[in-house]
Symmetry: C2
Subunit: 605 residues, 2 copies
């Protein structure tokens, strides 16, 4: 049979297949984990893809049920029902990928001109001799009068310079900062690289970027090692408050992880750590402070102020980072004690401060940071959404690791689930519990107050009261049934109320209603793998047209890369701080009313 | 009997005494260790003092022998022969003090206007509240618009600021650098202090200075702990070259000693280490490099160049110094690989670059640095004088510690000695062996070639050949005789030849002879306790009128204090670098001739 070339975008994977296999099967064979809640029988709609070029088998009856005429016209298909008839270009939307694959996707990247902070110049010096006894560093100054005199030049640079010049026979390249301070030297053909880092409370994302091209050439995810000292920000602050040694231990652990990442990423692309000449690090205010060695005590007690919000820059060596001797770490500004530099990076990547009309962008985590832009004027707040979406406080909750239920649908009287990596289910992650609650509501098994109804199916006895069995003991990977309790639903209610009330306060302070929002951007790991229909279904997000929503991936990581590659992007991030008004929710007069209102599931949309 | 008030200068000690005790006895009772080689019988002339005010008993016959009529007219007396007849003011010249007391003297201090690099401003901020959520650091910036934004402000400062402001109820004082970067905060009444440090290869001198008055309020000496890793600069460099960890270990040991000194000196004047807001450190180029973390490999191999000669400044915290969080260490420039920042500090203190006429200044050590000023134009060189004057390579040699013979005279066929602290003799220190050789020469017991003659007395058998007994076993503190060998004399010959040939090269390159030198300044520990007549006697120093010589004490330490107290002094030190031409002796065509000529004792003066 004829073999067709099939390009899956935006993953960028090309495979060959004939017309005997569905796109779902082709994708699965190629290692692309498309979601398939119903098992590929055309019912759940989870495997939707869009035909961008080429010809597929005609749309089936199931597909005509799932997609509107407009959607069909745009090329939307179910991968499990569509078979190739020619070479194809297929777009896989993030929501059709499983969590682990989705998180490997780049965020939505913004084109920035490559204009890094550092510059590279060729270097050739006359070696010292008995008739030319100038000191090594003076020799450099004589050759490069533009090189700034002390104290900008780090001693570590001067120290390494003498050694490197003798190793390199007094030739190579000089790496200079924007202020013409020396960052280091490179051998004649070596290229300069930079590191962009997003330190999350749970996970870290680390990108090695070629500063000549502006492209990330290697990346890795790592657990934040501070997790051993406390699961969340509050516990981390409490640990740090025990004493300076404990606070600095948290800093050291992150630095160790970054050094390990530098080693691995550099090995991957066969460069030396000394070629890493610039770094940008983002994180929430607590992660930012702990990494920078700033105290966090005042973050943990009213009125919860940051030690510093303006952008910071310090020598990478001063915290023990192993890279070019004069490399500096740039930290973009924080907005407030609980709206950090990662949110600024996300705003930069989203560009909502530059877009006309009304745009909302949020990043869901234990704290959810939300910003609303009205023609570029920004209002921000932070709400304590809690760890439910990270699987904590949920009876069978877990992180989005292999075996976690990440999607759930209820139809034909049964629960249909899919798990991360397709393993036998062992628990429920954030997107899974969100789906379950949305489906319970939609099917009338839970009422507006969050109580199970008479219509509830698969009830089981449980010491905590109202409980359903999502997965039976036989189907479970643990040998025990996977349950959802009334307490779990309560947790989701509180979390979604926190987020929704934050959105509502920003709207109300701006004097607009949700329906005039032109766009609603959802960033971050959970924000990228949650199901938008479920989030709207439980009232966490407002009921506005679906095409105004956009899941933008690790936008904080993208923003960090933009600032690494482009000095103007740093200035833009700093200017965002001037455009932002921060709202402390607890000082909003009717905040508690809004919050309590948001707890009820059937609030007026 | 009538009690008189007797002031001893420049020690500044006042005691009461009647006319029954000689000035020597009065001084000894007061704990002032005057040299007394002959035991106070008016023969050796070592206890000479000068009457500045008041009346003494008439000059004795012995004194009329020792002093010229002009000297008698100037008030010179022997302390052992003079008795008080009124209240007195007595000057004790440094050469009449024993080594340990002499080293406690200040160097010759230069008056500088108090104009430190740091400034102090009162600080009072509104505490944060729910209606004023500005970050701590932003709050400061708002109150002090002149405070420079990052990256000048060290993160350690920002880190400490949050904590200190809460401890101090948001009030106190702000310490700013010349560039208005924040160095730290002080409580409302606290004064700012600084630390001036002279890191010698063997000893360190550390001065705590009140920056409000410019006065040193506490000082201490300490051994350089690097001595455990190598006695001299060459051994130290070899150790550092083993690897970066070893090099940094040498740095760490010095930093540990400085931290210990900061703790002790601050306790002594009851201030906190955080009140130390500025530091100036001087040392020879190797000590400078090791302290600053610069490589020394290139200092140890031809052509012996410094990694950097220009002045440096770096955060004190970056090397682990425990003081104000933003305090910086200032290092004045080096001149060359073997003429370091300590020599620049000594030149600054001597002010020879500002004096009219011809001035020579030198600091004797294992390396002896020499500068010649002709109306402010400077020529400098360094000569490898070796460790003989530190007691090394001398049969019975030792440092100038208690029990070391520091003075020796030969008369009446016998050796007369005095020891540090007057203990039973256990060995000979640099000034002692210098005296012995000078006396052997003067008494004809050693010839111009350095060989013992037929006139040599107290000869003893020794495996190394020609040897004399300086102290018998019965008089020795060790129970064994203290000997001086022909090898010892050879060591002194080589050392004095190195120094003298350096002086001669500078004179010759300047086209002048020694007799037109207007002043000859001798700095440093050994330079201060050596006997000038002996140094001239063996030909180490040229035979020019004694009143052109001046022993100026720890001038490098004084220079460091000047730069700590006065920013213009730093600029002056940097300007000295522009006035200096460095001469590498090995490139001087007839250097070896000059050197060999200087080895002979009876060179033409």
């Amino acid at each position: 049979m004829t073999l067709f070339q099939i390009d899956f975008e935006p993953i960028g994977k090309r495979v060959e297949a004939d017309q005997s296999l569905s796109l779902l099967a082709v994708a699965q064979q190629a290692g692309i984990a498309l979601a398939a809640v119903c098992g590929g029988v055309g019912v759940c709609g989870a495997c939707k893809v869009r035909l961008m070029a080429g010809e597929l088998s005609p749309a089936t009856a199931e597909e005509q049920d799932v997609f509107s005429a407009a959607e069909q016209a745009q090329g939307w298909r179910l991968a499990c029902r569509a078979f190739p008839l020619s070479d194809l270009k297929i777009e896989i939307p993030p929501e059709s990928l499983t969590a682990t694959q989705r998180l490997q996707l780049e965020g939505v990247s913004q084109a920035v001109d490559v204009a890094p902070v550092v510059s590279v110049r060729p270097l050739r010096l006359t070696p010292p001799s008995l008739t030319d006894l100038r000191a090594d560093w003076d020799r450099l100054m004589d050759a490069f009068p533009l090189v700034k005199a002390n104290p900008q030049n780090d001693l570590a640079v001067i120290a390494q310079f003498s050694t490197r010049m003798r190793e390199q026979d007094w030739a190579g390249q000089l790496v200079l900062s924007a202020e013409n301070a020396v960052i280091g030297t490179l051998s004649p053909a070596a290229r300069p690289y930079g590191l962009a880092v997003d330190i999350g409370t749970t996970k870290m994302a680390i990108f090695l970027v070629d500063l000549s091209t502006g492209k990330a050439v290697a990346r890795m995810g790592a657990m934040n090692p501070q997790i051993a000292y406390g699961e969340d920000v509050v516990a981390r602050i409490a640990y740090a408050n025990q004493g300076e040694a404990d606070r600095l231990a948290l800093q050291r652990r992150v630095v160790e992880t970054l050094n390990m990442a530098i080693t691995q990423l550099c090995a991957e692309v066969q460069i030396k750590a000394a070629q890493v000449v610039d770094l940008v690090v983002v994180g929430n205010t607590a992660m930012h402070h702990l990494f920078a060695g700033l105290p966090v005590r005042q973050l943990g007690q009213a009125p919860y102020v940051a030690a510093a919000t303006q952008s910071l820059s310090f020598p990478a060596r001063s915290v023990g980072l192993d890279c070019a001797p004069g490399a500096r770490v740039y930290l973009p500004p924080n907005i407030a004690g609980y709206v950090g530099a990662d949110h600024v990076a996300m705003l930069l990547a989203s560009q909502i401060h530059r877009l006309p009309g009304n745009s909302l962008a949020l990043d869901i985590g234990t704290n959810t940071e939300i910003s609303l832009s009205r023609d570029g004027k920004l209002l921000s707040c932070s709400c304590a959404s809690g760890p439910a979406f990270e699987g904590a406080h949920i009876q069978a909750g877990m992180r989005a690791v292999p075996g976690a239920i990440e999607r759930a649908q209820f139809f034909d009287g049964e629960w249909h689930i899919s798990t991360v990596d397709g393993l036998a289910p062992v628990g429920i992650c954030g997107s899974g519990i969100l789906d379950v609650v949305a489906q319970l509501l939609e099917s009338g098994q839970v009422d507006a107050a969050g109580r199970f109804t008479a219509a509830t199916q698969h009830r089981v006895d449980h010491p905590q009261g109202g409980t359903i069995e999502l997965v039976s003991a036989e189907q479970s990977g643990t040998g025990k049934p996977i349950l959802v309790t009334r307490g779990d639903i309560r947790e989701i209610q509180l979390a979604k109320a926190a987020i929704r009330s934050g959105v509502e306060v920003l709207l109300s302070e701006s004097g607009i209603s949700a329906d005039v929002l032109d766009r609603f951007l959802v960033a971050g790991a959970f924000g990228t793998y949650l199901d938008l229909d479920s989030a709207i279904g439980i009232g966490m997000f407002p009921r506005i047209p679906r095409d105004r929503y956009r899941q933008i991936g690790n936008a904080a990581g993208i923003g960090a890369q933009m600032m690494l590659v482009s000095e103007p992007s740093r200035r833009e991030a700093e200017a965002i701080l001037d455009r932002v008004a921060y709202i402390e929710l607890t000082t909003v007069a009717d905040y508690m009313d809004i919050y309590v209102d948001a707890i009820i599931f059937n609030r007026t949309e």
